[in-house]
Amino acid sequence: MELQLAESVDRRRFLMGSLAGGAVLACHGSLRAAETSRPTYSGPNVILIRFGGGARRRESIDPRPVTYSPYLLHHLAHRGVLFKNMLIDSAAPETGHGQGTLNILVGRYDKYDDVSGQLLGERFEARVPTLFEYVRSSFQVPAHQTLIVNGEDRTQEEFYTFSNHHLFGARFRSNVLSLYRFKTYLLRQQIAEHSAEWSEQKLAEKKRDLAKMEALDYRRGDDTSQAAEIDDFWAEWRRDYGDSGLVNPRGDRLLTELTIRALKRLRPKLLMVNYNDCDYVHWGNMAHYTLGISIMDAGIRRIVSAVESDEAYRDNTVIVVVPDCGRDDSRFAAVPCQHHFNTRSSREIFAFVIGPGVDRGRVVDQSTQQIQVAATVGQLMGFATPHAEGEPLAEAFA
């Protein structure tokens, strides 16, 4: 009797398990089928350079009296299309880095509220798909070939890899290259390498730190990993620069170095570089602002040079340069552009596009909108951006 009961329980359990496993296999299979049914992507690649955090026209493309981005203005501008009069006509009360970056990525002006509940927090989550999700849902582009290169001071921008949209989301997320991610990788490696030597307490502490770092984005649940190619990337970085963090380039120069290496190793189809150093002018030193712009200008020069020296990228890469926001112009202040408090000047930006399919040597004076960048990138890369509100920048196309 007991044997019969045990046997019927086992049979029931087996059948239930089989049904569940079959369902999983079916879903996975359909996903794989959907993945392989998407076409491969042949280009053009797009490098989106966030000329920020917060840069005015007058120190860059509209020198009054000098430009701190001579390469962009004097050497690059005549090879592409310069939109001198781009605006951020957002209904949101604030012009900021997070807001501007999301405006660029999703092609829509939204009012973003911090979800972390921290004072002055900027943990924003996009409600509609980002460019990364569009490109990955339209083409067979692996995660490690859609990248955000992020600065170490703004970990909140690590969340811009995917949106909360129910049809897109984490499945089509991009990967991130940043010092924060390297530290996460490093800690994981150190735990693996030294766990035998460490005391139990130290090991537990390190594991807690790692869990905390990996849980940066709660939306991803247990899946906190990035692509295996990213781990290889970090392994090479570690070999070259060690563990201390004191050998590698710093600030926005670090972002340029990460970008150059990513182009060589990861071969991204869509890459966004989130420059930010010029935002240090918030603390009152005007030289930080102007030097920050110069550093970005030098970074753009290196990136363009890297693209042009790579056969796969040369003639097959569009570069878009656009600030996240402008800066103020307070006539009564010792540092007129110290902040970007939603003034007219902080909403006045520009955009520059260069590459195949883009017109050359053109300057567009009529006003355009920051949210048009997403639709423009979509049109260049050949995918639709149905949730973006801005129209493509028609003047950009040859």
Binding site: H288, S330, F332, A333, A334, T343
Partner: protein
């Protein structure tokens, strides 16, 4: 019974008796007439640091009157019918010859010199802290921009050190400045031992002064920050530099109208706190040998109200002393933290509207009541 008013003073070889008091109605009428004129003049003078020294000098005169009046309220002279003016004349040993002419209009040079001496003393004790802030701000943010992790602690350590020093200095400064104002002797500012005893004796008052400063500093901080936002008005775009200077100048005149009353308020309270501390110390321990003549004369009249200092029994004294120490420490500790909050306000003001070195090192309520700063190019 003789009082201070009966004492004869040898002034320049002449004996002088105290004049009988004047009718109060006439004095009040003159005072009310002069007040708005002096106020307007003070607002204008505070548009330049050298002019602001006059106002500092006036505040010193005001502090002296406030302290002496505080003593008068507790004095035997008051009980015998002497007015505050009479008491002040006697305590300060004001020469009777030509006294009427100078009673309410101090010599211009004398006032300016008082202001200069005060400002220099305040600068001497506050400069170490404010200089550290200037370095901390510059060094710290340079380190952040260039990601100098190896030196990342420097800006923070220097800045916090400056705040700690500033807070300690500000515990001492109100008493020291009030004493200088009352005695008319700049050297009393540096009588560290005695002044610190007064700080401890007036620990309640010191906390009150700190809280008042912190509260009064908030509108001052807003006035410091506001030009940044006012200057972002698109309507200013078409104005010439001269027109912008004019607009900003009007703003600074308006700001000074707010700052001057706050300045006089906080320092008047400080003067009263000093006066009460002197009385408390004299009643508790008897007149100190560190008192100068003015203080001694005033305290003599105060102590004459009671026959002996309020010492009580030995056991009671020990008990009170045992309670007093932790209470004093707690009060002064709280005052110290309150001064740190004032320092934080200064940093916040710098974040919102950065100004270069000199205006940053001058807090309008601490040093000079002067806010006027035009950015380079205007």
């Amino acid at each position: 019974m003789t009082t201070i008013l009966d004492q004869r003073h040898d002034i320049a070889g002449e004996s002088a008796a105290v004049d009988p008091p004047r009718p109060r109605r006439r004095r009040a009428w003159v005072g009310w007439l002069l007040w708005p004129i002096k106020f307007a003049l003070g607002v204008v003078l505070c548009q330049h640091p050298l002019g602001a020294l006059f106002v500092v000098g006036w505040s010193q005169n005001m502090m002296q009157r406030a302290a002496v009046k505080s003593w008068w309220r507790r004095s035997e002279s008051r009980q015998t019918g002497a007015t505050a003016d009479d008491f002040r004349i006697a305590v300060l040993n004001v020469p009777t010859k030509g006294r009427r002419r100078w009673r309410w209009v101090a010599p211009i040079w004398h006032t300016w010199r008082r202001g200069l001496a005060t400002a220099l003393n305040v600068l001497v004790v506050t400069l170490p802290a404010t200089a550290l802030w200037v370095f901390a701000w510059s060094l710290g943010w340079n380190n952040s921009f260039f990601k100098h992790y190896e030196q990342s602690h420097l800006g923070f350590v220097i800045g916090v050190s400056g705040i700690l020093i500033f807070s300690a200095v500000m515990l001492y400064l109100p008493i020291a400045r009030a004493r200088q104002a009352t005695t008319g002797d700049w050297r009393t500012f540096y009588d560290f031992r005695f002044n610190w005893r007064l700080v401890r004796l007036g620990s309640w008052e010191m906390l009150g002064v700190a809280i008042l400063f912190a509260l009064a500093s908030m509108p001052v901080m807003i006035l410091r920050i506001a030009p940044y936002f006012l200057g972002s008005d698109p309507a200013l775009a078409g104005l010439s530099d001269e027109e912008l200077r004019e607009r900003l100048g009007e703003y600074f005149l308006f700001s000074t109208v707010i700052v001057i009353p706050l300045y006089f308020l906080v320092w008047r309270i400080a003067a009263t706190a000093y006066a009460r501390a002197v009385v408390r110390g004299a009643r508790r321990y008897g007149p100190s040998t560190a008192l100068v003549d003015i203080e001694r004369r005033a305290i003599a009249s105060v102590l004459a109200v009671q026959d002996a200092p309020n010492r009580g029994s030995t056991f009671g004294g020990i008990l009170r002393g045992g309670i007093r120490l932790p209470v004093t420490t707690l009060l002064l500790g709280t005052a110290y933290l309150t001064w740190s909050a004032v320092a934080v306000q200064i940093f916040v003001g710098q974040f919102f509207n950065y100004v270069p070195v000199v205006p940053w090192m001058n807090h309008p309520l601490v040093l000079l009541p002067w806010l006027r700063y035009f950015p380079a190019g205007l």
